[in-house]
Amino acid sequence: MAESVQPPGPDKRIRPFSVKRQTGFTTVAIICFVALYAPILTLVVFSFNAGESIANWGGFSWRWYEAAWANEQVKEVSVRSLVIASCASAIATGLATMAALGTTRTRPYRGLTAVFVVINQPLMVPEIVSAVALLIFFAMIKIATGYTGLGYLIAAHTAFCIPFAYLPIRARLESMDLTLETAAADLYATPWKAFRRVTLPLLWPGILAGAMLAFVISLDDVVITEFVKSAGQDTLPTYMLGQLRRNVTPEMNAISTAFLALSIGLVTIFFFLSRRRK
């Protein structure tokens, strides 16, 4: 009780350094928020523009959403994007889970750092370099096999999605109590059963986070997709890029806003799923 008695007069206690108390903090913070969200807000607002312009407000309407919905090409590229993102994130998450298990459930050995580098290569090599490399490499395979399907895009997306799936899974594994697996083994669980019944359920939030991240990263990739895609294999982002080069209508805003809603939806679902697991 004694601690709550404050001496009269100004509080003389020394406060730790706090960036919040620096002059101009509020101003800088507001500028940052505006810079981050004003463009997005503008984009969303003008997706409801009744006029043809993305700069002059002509009243509220759903017309651009209807236009986008009726646009067969938009539908086609959206489906393609979702197919690639689903396949790539699923494969990448599976591989990343194995990689994470392989790099954490082991004694440190020489070359473990090299393994990290290899797994996280897409984070370090400039995307344009990967894109060119893949273009040349896949071109050779195309000539050799004659296959020109979606497989190339899925393979390329899988490759750059792996580190994004890997990092949250590994973080989760590292924070996991190893005694739990020891306890499972002590209670007659074979290594496989211990993995199925103990490790995997506890790892699940990390796997889910990795998969979501991989999905979103794959969904909005432009550079590598642009290089690797064959004719008629536009994804939603590369299609939008192509459209923007010609004429800009609020239809693009409408598609982008729908895209944004999908991302927010995914993150929200993930948030609630991971909270329920705790």
Binding site: T179, T182, A183, A185, L187, Y188, A189, V198, R277
Partner: protein, 407 residues
């Protein structure tokens, strides 16, 4: 002086007899749980080894960083025994437990279970369960699922698992919390669940690694009693690890005192306390008075010893020490007394300090040869008059109080 001898070694047989004298109700309960235990059929206890470590060495790391966590350790743990590994932190207790459980494998030597070498078996093939210091309950399962996990992994039918889980919940008095998540119960309750989970598959041996160290004092005392009860009711061999000497003395049938990767002495609590074989054991368990004494003569394992004061006494000489010219002896503070008028003192000195503890009083006496000697006396109403610091005093103790250490 006679009072002291009464405190001495109760023969080993009486200690082991305790188990068969357990109330019938306990045995009946255990038998319904697990079926009658083999060792009791015929009404006679067989002192068979449940676990045996043979010349076990465990080294960690190599080169200059090599640590010998266990150095040629051999020990036999009997069936149905409450066996305690006692020693300071870092002496290798956990390592020995992990070798028995199969989480680690010995660098040298072998681990036997019921006479069978299990050194090569993985943990999930050993009929041995562990209660972990951190409990290690599965956080994504309910209390009941945790307890049933072992049986389920053994492939027992669902109904059997469910029945065993209920029995276990009853055994640890946790019926109401069956469907709780393990994160929604208190530390003491988690401890009980951990115990129930490890006992449910009815292991041959239960290993407990400092299971009580995370509990507060009151809960700790409760769980000590609870553990003894569980051991009685289940008839399972318990191997218990602690660094708390009092806990070891009150709970164990036998204790192994460990230090720096070695087992120094194995015996009943009484033997360990009254007949410590080494300086480390004497110092680690209870308060001690250590004295250097001269060996006058040795015959048939009995030695005539002379104190610095000139007084002589007889004591058992440890094996292989008949050549020693001088030895260290132990006298426990409560086995010595301040001499009354008319007693012939063994030692004499000056009273330096008197510390009153309520139940007893400690007298610190500076002996004439310069060593400090502590005498502990029970406080009784109308007892001897209080002694004042500075007074000269003699100290007396019986021959039985003198224990020669192996050095």
């Amino acid at each position: 002086m006679i009072t002291i001898s009464a405190a001495f070694a109760e023969p080993e047989s009486i200690v082991s007899e305790r188990k068969s004298a357990q109330p019938l109700a306990f045995r009946a309960f255990r038998d319904t749980l697990f079926g009658p235990s083999e060792t009791e059929t015929g009404g006679k206890r067989l002192a068979k080894a449940a676990v045996e470590a043979r010349h076990v060495t465990k080294a960690f790391g190599d080169g200059p960083e090599r640590v010998l966590a266990l150095d040629n350790v051999s020990v036999e743990i009997r069936e149905n025994e409450f066996f305690t590994l006692l020693g300071p932190s870092g002496c290798g207790k956990t390592t020995l437990l992990r070798l028995i459980a199969g989480f680690d494998h010995p660098t040298n030597g072998s681990i036997l279970l019921n006479g069978e070498d299990i050194s090569h078996l993985p943990p999930f093939k050993r009929p041995v369960n562990t209660v972990f210091q951190s409990y290690a309950l599965f956080p994504h399962m309910s209390v009941a699922d945790n307890i049933g996990f072992g049986l389920e992994m053994q492939g027992k039918p669902k109904a059997e698992v469910a029945k065993a889980v209920d029995d276990m919940l009853r055994l640890v008095r946790m019926e109401e919390l069956k469907n709780r998540k393990t994160s929604q119960i208190s530390g003491g309750q988690q401890q009980r669940v951990a115990l129930a989970r490890a006992l449910a598959p009815h292991p041959k041996v239960l290993l407990l690694d400092e299971p009580l160290s995370a509990l507060d004092l009151k809960l700790r005392k409760e769980m000590q009693i609870e553990l003894k009860r569980l051991q009685n009711e289940t008839g399972i061999t318990f191997v218990f690890v602690t660094h708390d000497q009092e806990e070891a003395l009150t709970m164990s049938d036998r204790i192994a005192v460990m230090s720096a990767g070695h087992i120094l002495q194995v015996g009943s609590p009484r033997e360990i306390y009254d007949r410590p074989s080494e300086r480390f054991v004497a110092n680690f368990i209870g308060d001690t008075n250590l004295m250097e004494v001269e060996v006058v003569s040795v015959s048939n394992g009995r030695a005539r010893l002379r104190f610095a004061s000139g007084a002589e006494t007889e004591a058992d000489m440890p094996e292989g020490m008949s050549e020693a010219k001088s030895v260290t002896v132990v006298v426990r503070p409560e086995h010595a007394q301040l001499a009354g008028t008319g007693d012939n003192g063994v030692l004499s000195g000056q009273l330096e300090n008197v510390v009153y503890f309520g139940t007893d009083t400690h007298y610190h006496v500076r002996l004439d040869e310069g060593v400090l000697f502590t005498v502990r006396a029970q406080n009784v109403r109308g007892g001897a008059e209080e002694r004042q610091p500075g007074a000269r005093t003699d100290i007396v103790f019986s021959e039985l109080a003198v224990q020669v250490l192996r050095d």
